[in-house]
């Protein structure tokens, strides 16, 4: 064994001999853009006359959203039987779509909270849009359990509110935990998003020319003055909210996975579910962030603040989490084989080779194989390709939830009660429309609120360091 140096903290001798090159850190803001440029760029998006592409997309999004409206209207006026749910599959697209949308939201919180705690400065230029995505995705997710209760006008019974029957929610059910997890998640994400936006709303207010714009942004900015006494409390609160959101986001998808894992259904009753669901959520969420940010970057020419370094990092997170998801698929199979439980073994063989094998292999090819392309720099630099791969990831993650939910229920213990589940047109309408609903909200956000957190982007600029000279 080689002789160990006495002081491990000393600079190793070898470094003086080989004299390694000092690699500069990747630049977060290209072309040495100044503070004023950043203000102009971000406020300009809100201040410019409504662009044509926005109007066209907005109308299209409203039209798509109307499909959800139509689906829900028909459901409420007729009954939940109009969805494809029947014995033995009582949890179909509704839960699949719910988990899909909640999962999408997780990347926003990862970027805003976990990467903040890890001091990843590259998060600053994408975090506002990602947080907005979180909030809108959770809103889309909420629609499904809300209407799945059947009589939606009684949905408030889910909450611990006194009702005339004198009964309370039943806290031994994971579904009730989910009510608390998802509503807390939505509330805390919204508070975090809004609080971070207050200084930027103040910046838009200070530039406002017309009285209605001044009034609108003044109300939202709450009279923010940007004094350091305010920043001091603001920064502390921001850090604390990041610290609170981190265990929150991990708990949300953990509790979502409890909906499955706490049951006795083969293929669901496994301890791997919480970490596996969280990894999958971040995986799908980052794919959605890129799906949204790449077109916005091109439209608003944000290349100097969202550069290749940001895109590279996001692709690498997709690669890492995609690989974790693939590993989880393999572990599930191994544990099923190792358990010696015939039902558990069957559940997994049935997933891969049974009546839903088509869905399983779509899932594997989209989630395990496509993200591996991000190992290659050439592919990460081809943004059209990155965008397409992200779409595949989104499709794959939807199918993952479909495979988990439907295969286990359709073929459980008794072959005599097996069935084959397919969605109805009402299911398809309702789900399709949520993309429009999401886009409507996101487009309104892009048009009326600061798309990039100006204050935070300025903070990571090299000239923001008071000891720079």
């Amino acid at each position: 064994m080689a002789h160990a140096p006495e002081h491990s903290t000393d600079r190793p001798e070898i470094l003086d001999r080989v004299n390694p090159a000092e690699l500069p850190r990747s630049k977060l803001i290209l072309n040495d853009r100044g503070f004023h440029w950043i203000t102009d760029k971000v406020c300009g998006i809100v201040e410019e006359p409504t662009p044509l592409w926005w109007k066209v997309t907005f109308v299209a999004a409203l039209f798509i959203a109307s499909f959800t409206g139509a689906g829900l209207l028909y459901l409420v006026s007729t009954g939940t039987g109009t969805w494809g749910l029947r014995s033995p599959v009582g949890w179909g697209w509704a839960i699949v779509n719910f988990v899909f949308w909640v999962g999408i939201g997780h990347a926003g919180t990862l970027i805003s909270a976990i990467l903040c705690l890890l001091r990843q400065k590259w998060r600053t230029s994408i975090n506002r849009a990602a947080e907005a995505m979180t909030i809108f995705a959770v809103m889309c997710a909420g629609i499904f359990p809300l209407f799945h209760v059947g009589r939606v006008w009684f949905a408030w019974w889910l909450f611990p509110l006194p009702n005339q029957n004198g009964i309370w929610p039943q806290f031994r059910s994971p579904l009730e935990w989910d009510v608390f997890a998802v509503s807390t998640y939505f509330t805390v994400s919204t508070l975090f998003w809004y609080m971070g936006m207050v200084p930027d709303l103040g910046a838009i207010r200070d530039r406002a020319k017309t009285w209605w714009r001044k009034a609108f942004y003044s109300v939202l900015a709450l009279g923010w003055r940007g004094g350091n006494r305010q920043w001091s409390n603001f920064e502390m609160a921001y850090l604390l909210l990041a610290g609170l959101s981190t265990p929150l986001v991990l708990s949300v998808h953990t509790i979502v996975s409890f909906d499955f894992a706490v049951s006795n259904v083969p293929g669901w009753h496994t301890t791997i579910f919480p970490p596996y669901f969280v990894a999958g959520a971040i995986f799908s969420g980052f794919a959605m962030v890129l799906t949204l940010m790449l077109p916005l970057r091109a439209i608003y020419r944000l290349h100097d603040v969202i550069n290749q370094y940001h895109i590279d990092n996001m692709c690498k997170i997709i690669l890492a989490t995609g690989t974790m998801v693939g590993y989880a698929y393999a572990t599930e199979f191994f544990i099923a084989a190792y358990s010696g439980n015939a039902y558990e073994k069957f559940a997994f063989v049935n997933r891969a080779f049974g009546q839903y094998a088509w869905a399983y292999w779509i899932m594997v090819s989209c989630n395990v194989i496509t993200p591996q392309l991000f190992w290659f720099k050439k592919i990460r630099e081809n943004h059209a390709l990155v965008w397409i791969i992200c779409l595949f990831v989104n499709v794959g993650m939807w199918f993952e939830r479909f495979v988990i939910t439907v295969t286990s229920l359709a073929n459980d213990y008794l072959p005599s009660s097996w069935g084959y589940y397919s969605p109805t047109i009402v299911d398809i309408f309702t789900f399709f429309g949520t993309f429009g609903f999401f886009s409507v909200l996101f487009l309104l956000f892009v048009r009326f609120l600061p798309l990039l957190p100006m204050a935070e982007v300025k903070m990571v600029a090299p000239q923001a360091d008071p000891h720079a000279h």
């Binding site: 611990p160 009730e176 608390f180 920043w231 001091s232 609160a237 609170l244 204050a455």
Partner: protein, 180 residues
Amino acid sequence: MNERNESIHGVACTFRSPSDVFHAAEKVRDAGWKNWDVHTPFPIHGMDQAMGLPRSKVPRLTLLGGVTGFITGCLLTWFMNSYDYPLVVGGKPFWSPIFPFPVMYECTILFAAFGTFFGQFILNRLPQHHHPLFDLPQFARTSDDTFMIVLEARDKNFHLDESRNFLLSLGGQEITVIRE
């Protein structure tokens, strides 16, 4: 403070760069000022020390919120499932700290976040839509790329002409008197 200053809120002075305002702030702190502030478009790293500010009190409100939330979660689940309407489900205990833990956990986070969010705005005295600074034309640029030190008239060190000269000596660009 003298009677002459009653209609005056203070004196404002703009600076060009973060390092200018940072070093000026250190000197204002050393001169013993208490009622003053530095307005910047983004939080400048180390400015709390340069101004001699104490640590923010937001964490106390976060803790208060978190403890309240945890107790609320415990009481909520115990009262509803064990006291007011005990319901037998799967032979499980009416209340235990284990099964409703997710509820207690989420309540803790929710209330701690409320404590943080509202605590921040309460400590910052927001919302406050009227402030003498908003009437100052230069102030609008402090959310863009300008940095500003404001010395307030209620500070015992304040004297209109002396404070003006003091700000000039710190390398300030443009000096304005802020009226109430």
